[in-house]
């Protein structure tokens, strides 16, 4: 199996092969020989070169969220690309701000057409008794605003597109 894995900005080509009861996993140019067992309930045990790693895994849209000792990593997986084709992301494309949780839109801080810096507050949403400022995913111009003040939204609802 060959897939493309994405963690933040990093994109890797990953190949998995089952060899006996182990897995050979190539992540870019590094190959890991993994003794892998599923302990149940999302808990995995991976042994690589005698090092023991307890990892939890949960499916999410696009891939998996994993916890390692003290860290959490989101790994998105997609089909692998032919050699030479650049991954489909980067600074030229549009970025979508979606609701990270269900809640109520309290204020829209930047209207359509306004320009924003990356991480600048764009929408204020109330959820879990707290007003939360949702931040622009990138620097650019607010192209679309899909919600109104006072509106209730579900997780994943498209709020704003920044281009």
């Amino acid at each position: 199996m060959i897939v493309e894995a994405r963690v933040g900005d990093r994109v890797s080509r990953v190949e998995v092969r089952a060899v006996g009861d182990r897995y050979l996993v190539s992540v870019d140019d590094r190959t890991l020989d993994v003794d892998f067992i599923d302990c149940g309930d999302g808990f995995l045990s991976l042994m690589v070169d005698g090092e023991s790693h307890d990892v939890t895994v949960e499916r999410r849209s696009g891939g998996f969220a994993l916890t390692l000792r003290g860290s959490r990593v989101i790994v998105d997986l997609g089909p692998s690309l032919p050699a030479g084709v650049a991954p489909r992301h980067g600074s030229g494309s549009a970025a979508r701000l979606v609701a990270p949780m269900p809640g109520k839109i309290v204020r829209i801080l930047v209207p359509a057409g306004g320009s924003v810096e990356a991480a600048q507050g764009v929408v204020v949403m109330e959820a879990m008794k707290m007003e939360n400022e949702l931040r622009a995913p990138r620097t650019g111009t607010v192209r679309e605003v899909h919600v109104q003040e006072g509106q209730t939204v579900e997780t994943g609802a498209l709020l704003v597109v920044v281009e």
């Binding site: 199996m1 309930d41 891939g63 269900p102 879990m128 008794k129």
Partner: protein, 501 residues
């Protein structure tokens, strides 16, 4: 007055569980109350009895004084423990309990009213000779007046809800142009959280320490303090890690703050458990900030260093018992640290992260206590505070408590939602925290420093995800991945692509 036979717990989540545990240890039956969103909550399943009190929104359930009193009468509960938040500092609720002949486990309603309104608390502190943070001694509403006061104090200033706590309705204002927006925001948050939009203004210190003193007082004039808790690790003006002793507090400052706390406790005839919050500047001058007339989230830190069960003592004091010790009996033994585990994503500015918890692993072993309100299979409601669990580590000294907390944070797993655990991991390895040399600006300074997971660990995570996906596809044929026979995989791919449009 003899001990109670039954206590109603007017709260939810980990603190309701904490109170139910104390009741059980005292041999007292416990009654939980729950909203429609909380039928499956841990406090409901753990209590001896439970009563529904209305729909999910707090205003229609956990803030409904009438329904809670009905539940208490209906179950013949003799006392009510309010926990923290919700009605814990609501004088009208305490008065309604008093009127109904039900013991409110806390101070008298007049004391709550006096200390709960922050500006009257500031006035009485001044009268008791306790220094307060410079600012108004009355709430302010008029924007012109706010501008004048802010200019007088000098920016930055804090706008604060006159009632309530927990960092809600609190805004730091750094320039005059932000005053009006921040005022609106603070008032709206305060109104939504506490049903009272009044705010007041205080001078904001640059990087102060937030240090508090725990007190206990009985109905017979006996009062003690149980030393300090260092609460300077905050995000959104809300504590996320606390410790005792404070690495910043000298024996002289500890003694001074204890004396100030006792002066105010005596001045207001305080009863039951309470906490005096202070800002302490870089020169170790304490300024009274406010008094919380209830149990704090972080009370286990004090329980671990003093060996005293604060909740059991709250109950015994409310039942009329005398404090079983005097100030000289109390010692801070070793060091304790608490990490609050919230369903919040530290990589996204601590955004709430509700969802279903699919699995939990609780840390164990020596020196570790966990107060959790969740379990595997629990769906975190979106209506309430996202605190999931608290981990408290105790050790013979700060070094050993930190080492224990580091391992506990690595052991503690909550699968299904983002939590603050990775933040705690970083904090516990942060130079300033490890040196005990930090103030309230620490979390903000950490935000500039991105949470890097090292390359070998990233490779490992990627390998784990890839193997999980490979196994989910159900066959070792590489071509099968992404085929129409594996719908979740397909869905994942489609979603991933949509995200990159």
């Amino acid at each position: 007055m003899s001990a109670f036979r039954k206590i109603l717990v007017a709260n939810r989540g980990e603190i309701a569980v904490r109170v139910i545990r104390a009741c059980r240890e005292l041999g007292i039956a416990s009654v939980a109350v729950y909203s429609e969103a909380d039928r499956g909550a841990l406090h409901v399943t753990m209590a001896d009895e439970a009563r529904p009190i209305g729909p999910a929104p707090s205003r229609e359930s956990y803030l409904r004084i009438d329904r809670i009193l009905d539940a208490a009468r209906g179950t013949a509960a003799e006392a009510i423990h309010p926990g923290y938040g919700f009605l814990a500092e609501n004088a009208a609720f305490a008065r309604a309990c008093e009127d109904a002949g039900i013991v409110f486990i806390g101070p008298r309603s007049e004391t709550i009213a006096l200390m709960g309104e922050k500006t009257s608390a500031r006035r009485v502190a001044v009268e008791a000779g306790v220094p307060v943070v410079p600012g108004t001694l009355e709430p302010v509403a008029d924007i012109d007046q706010i501008h004048r006061e802010a200019e007088r104090l000098g920016f930055p200033v804090m706008l604060k809800a006159a009632v309530g706590g927990g960092g809600k309705g609190m805004r730091l204002v750094t320039s005059p142009s932000d005053l009006e927006t921040s005022l609106a925001r603070a008032r709206s948050e305060a109104g939504s959280a506490f049903g009272d939009e009044r705010v007041y203004i205080e001078k904001a210190f640059a990087g102060p320490h937030h240090i508090e003193i725990q007190v206990l007082a009985d109905h017979h004039g006996n009062a003690v303090h149980l030393f300090e808790r260092e609460c300077s690790v905050q995000r959104r003006h809300q504590k996320v890690v606390e410790e005792s002793p404070s690495p910043f507090v000298t024996p002289e400052l500890r003694s001074l703050m204890g004396d100030l706390a006792m002066a105010l406790v005596r001045k207001v005839g305080y009863r039951n458990a309470g906490t005096l919050e202070f800002l302490v500047d870089a020169d170790r001058h304490p300024f009274f900030l406010e008094m919380n007339t209830r149990l704090q989230v972080e009370h286990p830190v004090t329980e671990m260093v003093t060996g005293i069960d604060l909740v059991k003592l709250q109950v015994r004091i409310a039942a009329g018992e005398r404090l079983p010790f005097v100030q000289d009996d109390l010692r801070q033994r070793g060091h304790a640290i608490e990490c609050r585990v919230y369903a919040e994503d530290p990589d996204r500015g601590f955004l709430p992260s509700p969802g279903r918890i699919s699995a939990v692993r609780i840390p164990g072993g020596p020196g570790i206590r966990t107060d959790s309100g969740v379990y595997a299979g629990y769906e975190i409601p979106i209506h309430y505070d996202p605190l999931l669990s608290k981990v408290i580590a105790h050790g013979e000294d700060r070094e050993s408590a930190m080492a224990r907390m580091r391992r506990a944070v690595a052991e503690h797993r909550i699968v299904g939602v983002a939590t603050t655990l990775p933040f705690h991991e970083r904090l516990l390895r942060h130079d300033a925290f490890m040196a005990g040399n930090y103030d309230t600006s620490l979390v903000e300074r950490m935000a500039d420093d991105p949470s890097a997971v090292d390359e070998p660990r990233l490779d490992l995570a990627i390998a784990a995800a890839a193997i999980a996906s490979f196994r989910a596809c159900g066959r070792p044929n590489p071509k099968a991945a992404g085929s129409p026979q594996s719908p979740w995989w397909q869905a994942g791919v489609a979603e991933a692509q949509r995200g990159r449009e």
